[in-house]
Subunit: 225 residues, 4 copies
């Protein structure tokens, strides 16, 4: 009798917690370009985050959703924000975009001017914050892995990374400084100063090591605070 009561008592307090964990995992959207599109593949970084959460027994607490499309620039994200992000009612959104905004200047003449990059980026944040969504902004990683600022787009990437840091500060959103993490890693781990083959297979897209490294940084940002 007493035992039964105890069980009921436990159930009474525990059920809501169980319910919360089981019914409402934190919904996280990764919003980005081809790296994020590949992120949900068997070796992609989003898959790696899932695996890391499972290893910690926390996979039920999170629902990870990839929303990456190859070739996307910041204004492409803006165009599909409603359908691909807001409609999913996420709790957290990672914005990870900028490589194509810089790269396409040289490769096809269709990159994004710095001032417009900022304008569209802040328009994204504004709409996400209006839905009380927690926003985490990521600096663009790399186009080329040389560690002495001699990759052709390094100047522009450094500048766009600075713009994101300013955006994070100005809009009071969380920063995940991927470019800094990548640069620090490559100073330590690219002694031959190679263009690719460490974290990327082709100067941009990630090797398995790159996906693991990115997943670690994303997960750190996600569980922070």
């Amino acid at each position: 009798m007493k035992l039964l009561f105890k069980i009921f008592q436990i159930a009474f307090f525990a059920l809501p917690l169980i319910a919360m964990r089981a019914d409402k995992p934190l919904k996280v959207v990764f919003f980005g370009d081809s790296i994020t599109q590949a992120g949900v593949g068997p070796t992609g970084y989003i898959t790696k985050v899932s695996e890391m959460l499972r290893a910690k027994g926390q996979d039920a607490e999170y629902e990870l959703i990839g929303a990456g499309i190859g070739g996307n620039k910041v204004y492409d994200l803006y165009l599909r924000l409603e359908d691909d992000v807001l409609a999913k009612k996420p709790d957290v959104v990672f914005i990870y975009v900028g490589i194509n905004d810089v790269w396409h200047k040289a490769s096809s003449g269709t990159g994004t001017d710095a001032d417009k990059y900022v304008k569209f980026y802040e328009a994204l944040i504004k709409k996400l914050k209006a839905q009380n969504i927690r926003v985490i902004v990521c600096t663009p990683t790399v186009i080329g892995e040389r560690n002495d600022n001699s990759n052709a787009q390094d100047g522009d990437l450094n500048q766009y990374a600075k713009l994101i840091r300013e955006i994070a500060s100005r809009n009071s959103v969380q920063l995940c400084d991927l470019r800094k993490s990548f640069q620090d890693y490559l100073i330590q781990n690219n002694p031959e100063n190679k263009e690719k083959g460490i974290l990327t297979s082709d100067r941009v897209h990630l090797t398995d090591a790159g996906n693991v490294f990115l997943a670690e940084k994303m997960l750190e940002a996600l569980v922070q605070k």
Copy 2:
């Protein structure tokens, strides 16, 4: 008595017409780039349309609003559609954009890919049509006035003009084929095959003659049907 009746009778039928003309002129927004920004200046094409309407005694029937910003491309229009167009509750919107989408490829590496040009263009139309706004789409005019397809961007401009014609047809919106009009005019009126100085002062922005010519074409499109 009979006269009084007549007066009443006239008033009965005429009042709604008078009211319509006096209270609710047709609100027309010109949505575009630097050419449209200059369009509201003392010699700009929108000012010319006003003057043409006044000369015909129809100026009270139309309210013309310029919504051009220098350097704008199609995605810039998309970003400011709500604030600069929809908020004004227009009856008619001219979309006249594309020159920078092509030009900036060569001048700053920040033009717009053809497929994305179409995508954003149709997103604009969709939002305008959802408000029952009459849409008139304009093909991009010129970057250089040579009349033998030897201006550097002619190939791309011809292609983007074709895309707009297809967009008009596919979305059942009115077409104002400015590029064709300009090309036809320059074949007749540029015997020395000059790069500028006929309809443009600098290969892109309009001379007084250019503003008049553009105004005529816009007005023709506006009063059509």
Copy 3:
């Protein structure tokens, strides 16, 4: 006796002619880019010219030499003129360059300005003429096969073709107007206005039909008085 004399007499006059034909065929260098590099391959245009000459029994009269290197622009030809052309002491040189000068503007930001294109082109001609070499200049063919001037580089290619025509005239050298030939052909033979697949496999490099067509035009120019 009289006959023998006659035979000797014929031999006396004929031998030098025979010798000339046998010992000294006309040496022709094709100087260009990847299209010319492929020109000496089994299905390349230079190989086709050889075959056409053989079919006419004139193959002994000509020695055809390919001097094409992929990615070359006019200044690359200038750099290797001595080694790859003058050192071979040719009688005739076809200059067929310009596609990369235009194309690389968009694809890698490393095209050639029009004024410098002319400057290097005329420097080539000057050095060739100083060696009494017959020069035949070719207009650039196509980047895309659409026949309504809507390929992205059509404006620039039309302009560079005009520059070559002016160079030919100003320097009194023979013109082989390949671009015009290709354009005329495509108006007749590309009813669906396709981008590729008629004379080119990839908008630039030649199909078998393209190599045959180019060979015909080159041969016409070569045998032209």
Copy 4:
């Protein structure tokens, strides 16, 4: 008699010195782009080198010749090497080119590919060394003065500077590492991380301070054993 002997004695020793100084100053050509073209102006860096030499009483020992043309890239130098440099029979040639090779990629799509930059650069050196001319190669200075590698072209400029250092080493010619000097200076003297206004007026062309600084570096290189 004694006096006459003295005079002869003086003449005997002095004449060669006088002759050397008066008849054959060291002829130095500065071969480059618009910065060098401006270098011979009233406040240009070559003028500054002259003034520095005069202050040291050494102006008679050097003849300084500017051979800069605005907009020049490495292949433009190659085209005019004979006329503008070799014809002047110099003892020393500074090659200072590369800014336009990088910059024009973004500004007009007509920059120079890295591999061709090296090829033309080494062709220049080869021709100069064949005339026993002492060659001093300079790394490109700056396009933008931010000191944290966030100017758009910094990556490319760093890479082209590395290529020049390798060229110097591989060809055993003297290096004047202007880019390193400028970067070191800007780390010390640009605390606000401004884009221009320290050594340059417009991110590229030199202020008076810039001309003085450049002149000092050039002079150091020139007098170096």
